[in-house]
């Protein structure tokens, strides 16, 4: 356990050095959230009755997503790990007396947490003080906040477990570009990062909410504003647990198979 903690600390402190990148990223995330809210408000003006949630709930959804983007997005992958196979550095990784799956998992967790630490606080601060209903509001009660934290941690683990599958796929394709694009394209729409899933027609929404992608963003962000509450929240959290177990098991089996046939590229 201690060695994984060390991996975490090393990676975390290295990534904290990228402050200029974080500032630029923060400005982008803020502008992006702002444009997104303007877009939804245009639709809201067109027909407020057709809105599936309160506008303040939507604003909270968007700001929370923007602040926690580095935790939750499928594209904030660790480029070092992605190029591990094609650059041949995998050779060194295999020499280490640690489980490769666990090590990469910890590294991915550390990279994401470092990125979010640098970015989230200013975004939270600014979006919190925006005029209503465009601001980030507090969750309706303390229970909701606890539920949100639980489902947020689970969602985070699901997305890391999913990223692990992408890393493992590079054992087979060498060049990480293609797999990365496929992985991103699936999650962007299906996890509700383009459009909260409750904006979709009912039938489609019900199916999509069963998929692992919904566990990544859709569930924690909607639990926060109380849009998913009570029994529904518990059901979604159980589903998150289920997908986390499935993705981790899948990743470990796949990694074992991949390591049997790994080719260390020279150069």
């Amino acid at each position: 356990m201690k060695k994984y903690l060390t991996f975490f600390t090393i990676r975390f402190t290295t990534r904290l050095q990228y402050r200029a990148a974080a500032a630029a990223g923060m400005a982008t995330q803020f502008a992006w959230g702002f444009m997104n809210i303007l877009m939804f408000s245009a639709f809201y003006r067109a027909n407020p009755a057709a809105f599936p949630m309160g506008f303040d709930q939507l604003a909270s959804y968007i700001w929370l997503r923007q602040a926690l983007l580095a935790l939750l997005s499928s594209w904030s992958l660790d480029s070092e790990t992605l190029e591990m196979v094609s650059s041949g550095n995998i050779g060194y990784e295999l020499c280490r007396p640690v489980d490769l799956y666990n090590m990469w998992f910890v590294k991915d967790v550390a990279t994401r947490i470092a990125a979010v630490t640098l970015r989230c606080i200013p975004i939270f601060a600014v979006s919190f003080f925006l005029p209503k209903p465009y601001n980030l509001s507090l969750p309706p009660n303390a229970g909701t906040l606890l539920l949100f934290l639980l489902s947020m941690v689970l969602g985070f683990c699901v997305i890391v477990a999913y990223s692990m599958l992408v890393y493992i796929a590079t054992f087979y394709t060498y060049s990480p570009l293609g797999v990365r694009w496929i992985a991103i394209s699936l999650t962007e729409f299906l996890s509700g990062s383009l459009l909260p899933l409750n904006f979709l027609p009912d039938g489609i929404r019900r199916v999509l909410e069963l998929l692992p992608f919904s566990s990544m963003q859709n569930v924690p962000l909607r639990v926060y504003s109380g849009d998913i509450a009570g029994q529904a929240a518990l059901w979604h959290i159980l589903l998150q647990l289920f997908w986390l177990a499935v993705l981790v098991a899948l990743g470990q089996v796949w990694m074992k198979n991949a390591l049997k046939r790994v080719v260390v590229q020279g150069g």
């Binding site: 200029a20 444009m35 060498y174 694009w181 992985a183 394209s185 027609p201």
Partner: protein, 258 residues
């Protein structure tokens, strides 16, 4: 021009060395922009119209922006690699060659993998042209073509600005993404829906509205003012500050020495 095709054919042959990855990339690109399209579709299923624009009218706008962006990406995306070019000293080699630097950079990378996005734009155009209910006369077709061409050049200029920033920061600047990727993403809707402030900014600072919004009004018959037909040409003016900024950066360039 012959030199450009020579560069292009070398690029093509090197991409083909990683076939699976190449096709995955094209497919991934297609699916990503398909997701963006689906979210527009489902918004209109729920709301029917936005600011008086109907679904098929908005699609025209989406297609022009998506098409212009992806064509600009295929041709000009060499600028995307520019940070690494500066980082590893490749740019020093470029400077000593007797050709224009800008030309060499954009010719150094032909992003054919972006074809997935272009394909999407073509499909949307094919659907939107009959569905939008516009009486397609020659002047409207000409306007649409002009929107597309000027849009491509404007996105190209934005990539140039992105690259120029690298002279000062060495690393790529994520902030420009709000104008390039953001322009594509939010330009899918007519820019007026974001309110007057954004529209004004997009007219006078980053003249995206010049090729996207004003001529679009003419095409869908919201205005009869013939002047709006040639408004896309104004977006070309953006080349002047972009180029000056590039020259300015070039003057300040210090090699990283690797």
């Amino acid at each position: 021009m012959r030199l450009y095709f020579k560069y292009a054919s070398i690029q093509l042959r090197s991409i083909m060395q990683y076939k699976v990855s190449f096709f995955f990339t094209i497919l991934g690109q297609f699916l990503t922009s398909f997701g963006a399209f689906l979210s527009i579709y489902f918004m209109f299923v729920r709301f029917n119209e936005v600011e008086g624009f109907s679904y098929s009218e908005v699609l025209l706008c989406t297609a022009v922006v998506l098409g212009a962006f992806s064509l600009a990406e295929i041709v000009f995306r060499g600028f995307d690699r520019f940070p690494s070019m500066i980082g590893n000293g490749e740019f020093d080699r470029i400077m000593v060659r007797p050709r224009n630097e800008i030309f060499q950079i954009f010719a150094s990378k032909l992003e054919l993998s972006r074809a997935g996005r272009l394909a999407q734009a073509i499909i949307i155009v094919c659907y939107a042209i009959p569905a939008s209910g516009v009486g397609w006369t020659w002047d409207k077709v000409a306007t649409l073509v002009l929107m597309f061409i000027c849009g491509t050049i404007l996105f190209g200029c934005l990539f140039l600005v992105y690259a120029s920033f690298t002279f000062f920061t060495i690393e790529g600047l994520e902030f420009m993404n709000i104008f390039t990727d953001g322009g594509r993403e939010f330009g899918a809707y007519p820019l007026s829906i974001y309110g007057k402030g954004v529209l004004r900014f997009m007219t006078y600072v980053i003249p995206m509205a010049c090729f996207q919004y004003y001529p679009f009004l003419y095409v869908i018959g919201r205005t009869d003012n013939r002047f709006y037909m040639i408004v896309p040409l104004f977006s070309l003016l953006f080349f002047i500050p972009a180029y000056l900024f590039w020259r300015f950066g070039l003057k300040h360039y210090k090699s990283t020495g690797s």
